[in-house]
């Protein structure tokens, strides 16, 4: 009886392993394909075989030295731009989100519920409905075609993403605050000295999501930057590479560029994964 139960479990586990192996392969095969073809040589633009027949590093060299075409495609510059924008907007966004969610979670004030509802409602409008208006506001401030504008765009709405971190703060026992208050701590001290040190997962989660944002947006950034190619981010830059005018020359460099963008983000993400999961789990249920 016991033996057959064990056997059954082994068989079940074998099926699960099989399933996971197959699915795992399905999941990463596009990226293996991308990686392989970023090293593809030869004159073909699109690969006509699954595994490239010629291998070369030329795509990467061209990407960074610009020797493959006109000087207006400057990938290293775009990479740097994106990095700078991502760093700044990540700092501002993280601070805003944590401040707002702490206030909503821990402080009780008039109109708190109303603010939360308004926040939720604002999140339901399609994002790029407001693109044109944002563009002209930035223009009135003289900021269009600058990286500052991008930082503003990526961090201004951050406060609206309070749900998950508020959910996380909600799970920290209130008794801690109360004990601290009795000891004479102000709300400010409680936030910095008690709550924040306990919130590593959600801080990492917020930092991670806001850092990745600028690497992936290609719509708002394009509208703000217009023809100022020197200020492009990698996302618009790579989009430009597969534009009709460039596809023939730059497709393989586009693949290489995609790898260059994807690898650091992926590594970062995998390293921080643990916190991401904790943050999302704790915050998600309550949020």
């Amino acid at each position: 009886m016991i033996k057959s139960y064990k056997l059954r479990r082994h068989i079940a586990n074998a099926f699960v392993y099989l399933f996971l192996i197959v699915m795992g392969f399905v999941w990463i095969s596009p990226f293996i394909y991308l990686l392989m073809h970023s090293f593809r040589g030869g004159a073909e633009i699109y690969g006509s075989t699954i595994i490239p027949q010629e291998w070369t590093l030329q795509n990467y060299i061209d990407l960074f030295t610009g020797s493959g075409g006109t000087a207006s495609l400057n990938f290293p510059r775009w990479f740097l731009n994106t990095f700078v924008v991502a760093c700044f907007s990540c700092v501002i966004s993280t601070i805003s989100v944590l401040m707002v969610s702490y206030a909503f979670s821990r402080l009780r004030f008039k109109a708190r519920k109303k603010f939360m509802n308004v926040g939720m409602i604002l999140g339901m409008f399609p994002g790029f409905m407001t693109m044109i208006a944002i563009y002209y506001l930035l223009k009135a401030m003289g900021l269009t075609q600058t990286l500052v504008a991008l930082v503003i765009c990526y961090s201004c709405g951050a406060g609206l993403g309070f749900q998950i971190s508020k959910g996380f703060f909600d799970t920290i026992p209130r008794a801690l605050d109360e004990a601290a208050t009795i000891d004479g701590a102000t709300k400010n001290q409680i936030f910095w000295k008690i709550i924040l040190p306990m919130s590593k997962p959600i801080v990492v989660y917020t930092v991670l999501t806001s850092f990745i944002g600028p690497w992936t947006d290609f719509i708002l950034a394009k509208i703000i930057m217009g023809d100022a190619r020197d200020n492009y981010t990698v996302a618009i830059g790579l989009q430009l590479m597969i534009d009709q005018d460039f596809k023939n020359t730059y497709y393989k460099q586009f693949l290489a560029g995609s790898v260059v963008v994807a690898v650091p983000i992926t590594l970062l993400f995998l390293k921080m994964q643990k916190y991401y999961v904790e943050g999302v789990t704790a915050g998600g249920v309550k949020g």
Binding site: L34, M99, G159, D170, T171, I265, T266, V280
Partner: protein, 499 residues
């Protein structure tokens, strides 16, 4: 069912009961939503009425300084020795007047017409054409909205100023001294800490979210399109015409037809995308977390890479792989040893829709795996125990316990995902770009959802007014759905459970 009866049920039956109650409650929740909405509106107007009553009452009871505060900001505070506040109030008034005089009023007065003087051509030396700029409808609208928002804020400050003046008057009458500057500042780190925390984010959201949103909502009531484009031409108010053309169901009215069809597909898409990710993701998570399975973090990592790689890379790659000469067809050709040339995305609407939904699983399931793993571990073991005693198999256990439990616990998350999918621009735009094309729709393809249509209308055909109207309708759909479910969801009501 009474409480005692409920207590006698085993956990498994309790669960079924709760789930049933949740779903039976939906019609009630809908009704509740509308009554609550009605009540809120009534409350709002009553509030305004009360505000006016207080406004009058305070004036009657106020001393000279309070009365003067009705005209000059901050006099009340200044007269009672609260200098910094009084000066701030006064500065607001001065700045507002200057703003209105030199900037705001000029635009606001053109708000009703959105400009009358169109651009015209003059000739330098009789031959070189030169455009003399006329009114710019868009800037008029944008700055009018800005001015209106500023006016509302200043009005709120004005009311605060009066209240503050009256409060200090009462305090003085009771022999109390106004609080010191230092004390007030300290309050911002403690009792009024929420103001310190919230003001910067709220300001940013106000300028870059609320203001543009009001602007775009107003755009929906104008004829801002390719034939009415500032600075070359003017646009003006047209009332509900944009909405009218979306709801025009007369045979042959293309915009109305497109709207109905796309709404239909958007909803199908949102339901399919949300639930396929949710259920499949849960199954994946269960498998990874199954007892006796090794290398859990390796499996998770394999799936999670899709989250880390930017979507414009992964989805464009997918698009390329699904072309008729792409990797998928090459692979199929190699396997079947014949020439396979399936048009996955470009020809057959049904096929393309399936492909989009399936690829979306590839994109979305990892998110579910990440967010579910923790919660799945928290399902009370006794639920499974009692199910096993009832003789339920793994499928039955999943449909009867795991799924309802998760649905119950993660409803808010599910709603967020549903709303997210209605607005899921990236997957559609990058993967299929709305293809296959169809002649029946106005500026849209078979797999376009409302938001990608909105985007195409803005970018390709400059139908800004129509696009804004669609944006509003998308919002209405999202908001109604989520409010109903939020109101109905228990986990929302339990907000204070941990406190």
């Amino acid at each position: 069912m009474t409480y005692v009866e409920y207590k006698q049920l085993n956990p498994f039956q309790r669960f079924a009961y709760n789930t049933k109650k949740f779903f039976c409650n939906i019609p009630h929740a809908v009704a509740h939503f509308f009554t609550a909405l009605g009540k809120a509106i009534v409350k709002f107007f009553v509030g305004i009425g009360k505000g006016f009553a207080n406004y009058g009452k305070t004036f009657v009871k106020g001393d000279w300084a309070t009365k003067l505060s009705y005209l000059i900001f901050g006099v009340g505070d200044l007269s009672k020795g609260k200098y910094y506040k009084g000066i701030l109030f006064f500065a607001v008034e001065v700045l507002y007047i200057l703003y209105m005089a030199f900037f705001g009023w000029g635009y606001l007065k053109m708000f009703p017409t959105l400009g009358i003087q169109a651009q015209r051509t003059e000739y330098i030396n009789g031959i070189i054409p030169k455009q003399v700029p006329g009114d710019n409808s868009m800037l008029i609208l944008l700055y009018s909205v800005l001015t209106l928002v500023i006016t509302v804020v200043v009005f709120a400050i004005y009311i605060t100023n009066i209240k503050d003046a009256y409060r200090h008057q009462i305090m003085k009458a009771n022999g109390q001294k106004p609080t010191s500057f230092k004390y007030d500042m300290k309050q911002f780190l403690d009792g009024k800490y929420h103001i310190t925390l919230m003001s910067f984010p709220v300001l940013m959201i106000g300028i870059f979210n609320v203001l543009p949103l009001i602007f775009m909502i107003l755009i929906a009531f104008t004829n801002y399109d390719k034939q009415h484009m500032p600075p070359g031409t003017l646009f003006t108010w047209i009332g509900f015409d944009n909405f009218g053309s979306l709801f025009n169901l007369v045979e042959g009215a293309k915009k109305g037809y497109t709207f109905i069809k796309l709404t239909e597909w958007t909803l199908i898409w949102a339901v399919a995308a949300t639930f396929s990710n949710y259920i499949l993701g849960m199954i994946f998570a269960l498998m990874i977390n199954k007892k006796g399975i090794k290398f859990k973090s390796l499996w998770r990592t394999l799936f999670v890479i899709t989250i880390a790689v930017p979507q414009f890379v992964s989805l464009l790659l997918m698009n390329q792989m699904l072309q008729s000469n792409g990797a998928v067809n090459i692979l199929l050709s190699n396997i079947t040893n014949s020439h396979v040339e399936i048009q996955w995305l470009n020809q057959d609407a049904t096929l393309a829709r399936w492909v989009v939904i399936i690829i979306n699983c590839w994109v979305g399931i990892p998110y579910t795996i990440l967010s579910m793993s923790g919660i799945l571990m928290n399902i009370p073991e006794d639920l499974y125990e009692s199910a096993r005693i009832d003789g339920a198999g793994p499928v039955k256990t999943f449909t009867a316990i795991t799924l309802p439990y998760m649905l119950f616990v993660t409803t808010p998350q599910l709603i967020t995902q549903f709303v997210g999918n209605i607005n899921n621009f990236n997957v559609i735009y990058l993967l299929s770009n709305g293809n296959p094309t169809t002649e029946k729709y106005y500026q849209a393809g078979e797999t376009d959802i409302l938001v990608t249509w909105l985007f195409k209308l803005t970018m390709n055909s400059q139908d800004y007014g129509l696009a804004a109207a669609i944006g509003i309708l998308v919002f209405v759909i999202c908001a109604t759905l989520s409010l109903i479910v939020y109101n109905n969801s228990k986990s929302m009501k339990d907000e204070e459970a941990f406190s």
